[in-house]
């Protein structure tokens, strides 16, 4: 577990989880119905602001955002 995983997980829980669903780093976010595809935009903006990166729209796919670990992998591609 690293700081990025924890930080992104905390954001997802605060932003999208409205009951007591337990979230792991591999929980399916989009395909599991936790994050709706409309709400991905705020997640993308959060990541861009926090890590000072720019994620191209064609890389911000539902698949790439489907778990905390997948999001971390995407972010690491753009962090200098």
């Amino acid at each position: 577990m690293d700081e990025m995983q924890e930080s992104i997980k905390n954001y997802v829980v605060k932003e999208y989880v409205e009951d007591d669903t337990e979230l792991t780093f591999d929980s399916p976010l989009i395909s599991g119905g936790i994050v709706d595809s409309f709400s991905m935009v705020s997640l993308k903006r959060f990541l861009e602001n926090k890590y000072n990166i720019s994620i191209p729209d064609d890389k911000a796919t539902p698949e790439a955002f489907d778990s905390v670990n997948k999001i971390c992998a995407l972010v690491r591609e753009y962090v200098k």
Partner: protein, 415 residues
């Protein structure tokens, strides 16, 4: 393309799947005019049954109001059946503009444009006024027609938790770099019957320089002291930038809708909104009927006052009976049953008792929040509501849910 056996089989399989999942919708044929007392054929081929209707959007009882019916007849005689044209070619009559001006005055806005339905108004408005440089920030429980309109618009889209003003403010801060921010909400939410906090939303929109969009379809005509809508109720008349509503509920019950609000935004719709540009507008007899509805509602608040007292009677009756309802003061009163099968069983038994009310369950409402949605009307008399309460008590007793908590009901029937 030939409609092959393979194609037919594919669709049959999908429809069978809907049936086995309990998601197949069946129409019930009503053989009378829409009213508190109706005659229903259900299932198809069954003999007619007289029932009390407590699931229509006929909030003000205008669907069969004799003066409205008479006005529609007169409109048919004077202006014909249809226009055979979209508005900007040769489909605009004097009465269309008259209705737009009357709606503007009634809602306290700057201008109004008619659409064939509020579904069309919501489908067309965002694309007409926003671009890819803008952001739409919507409540997570807005109506499906708004979701469709948002999908058709190139602006960025984000959401905030239902009625959570702190979360909305965070989103306004997050997107503060966009050219335009548009906050989007229902006035009264159709499934829970709760009311948007428009006073706070106006405050936030002013603070962050954002537009405010409100769909007041379940409010126009009866929410607020003189029935102008949620903006009147919240004390923010004149401060809603884009207001959409329908003439298919409180304001008559036939069909049609509109976008009302800032005159430049309304003009943008007249120039660019595709459902306005590429579809015939509201038919003349319906226009004449809605004009009469607005005349009646502008002259007296008797009907919305009666609806208010009927609603209070109904809510108290359900609570006294020991049923769980969603808190609020609107005529949308969900009776919470939590379990989908229980909601369907209660609906069927109520029908047997002469009460027409429908069960709603996932995916129309969230999992574990199945309910009977009841809707009260000024067309109901107290004896209608007393009969309906008797039926709820009888059916509630049968299922042993009277006086039970949510947890106890879930323990008995599951989520």
């Amino acid at each position: 393309m030939a409609y092959t056996d393979k194609t037919r089989g594919m669709y049959s399989e999908i429809l069978t799947g809907l049936k086995s999942a309990g998601l197949f919708k069946q129409e019930r044929y009503i053989h009378s005019a829409q009213a508190a007392d109706i005659e229903v054929e259900f299932p198809a081929g069954a003999s007619l049954k007289k029932v009390i209707n407590i699931c229509a959007n006929n909030y003000l009882g205008m669907s069969s109001h004799p003066e409205v019916v008479k006005a529609a007849h007169e409109g048919l005689d004077s202006h014909g059946y249809g226009m055979s044209s979209v508005r900007f070619i040769c489909g605009t009559q004097d009465i269309h503009r008259t209705l737009e001006q009357m709606v503007t005055k009634f809602l306290g806005t700057e201008d109004t444009i008619l659409f064939p339905s509020c579904m069309d108004a919501n489908a067309g408005v965002f694309e007409a006024v926003l671009t890819k440089d803008d952001v739409m920030i919507s409540d997570r429980l807005v109506h499906a027609s708004i979701i469709d309109g948002i999908r058709l618009c190139s602006a960025m889209h984000d959401t905030f938790k239902h009625s959570d003003m702190e979360h909305l403010e965070e989103k306004l801060q997050l997107h503060n770099d966009k050219r335009l921010k548009c906050v989007i909400t229902d006035g009264v939410f159709s499934m829970d019957g709760d009311t948007a906090r428009l006073d706070k939303m106006v405050e936030l929109c002013e603070k962050y320089d954002a537009l405010l969009f409100v769909d007041d379809s379940h409010s126009s005509g009866f929410i607020g002291k003189t029935g102008r809508g949620t903006h009147e109720h919240c004390g923010v008349m004149g401060k809603i930038d884009i207001l959409t509503t329908t003439f298919g509920k409180g304001l008559g019950g036939a069909s049609g809708g509109c976008v009302s609000g800032r005159k430049e935004l309304v003009e943008m719709c007249r120039q660019k909104a595709r459902p306005y540009l590429f579809s015939n507008t509201i038919a003349p007899p319906v226009v004449a009927g809605v004009i009469k509805v607005l005349e009646i509602l502008s002259a007296s608040t008797d009907r919305r006052d009666k609806l208010e007292s009927n609603t209070a009677f109904w809510r108290k009756g359900l609570i006294d009976a020991g049923l769980i309802i969603k808190a609020g003061d609107t005529p949308i009163v969900p009776v919470m049953l939590f379990n989908a099968k229980l909601a369907q069983d209660v609906s069927r038994d109520l029908y047997d008792e002469g009460i027409y009310a429908i069960g709603f369950f996932f995916p129309v409402v969230p999992q574990g929040q199945a309910r009977i949605r009841t809707q009260i009307s000024a067309g109901h008399e107290i004896n209608h509501l007393e009969k309906a309460l008797d039926a709820f008590r009888k059916v509630g007793k049968k299922y042993n849910i009277l006086g039970k908590t949510k947890l106890e009901i879930i323990e008995m029937y599951g989520m």
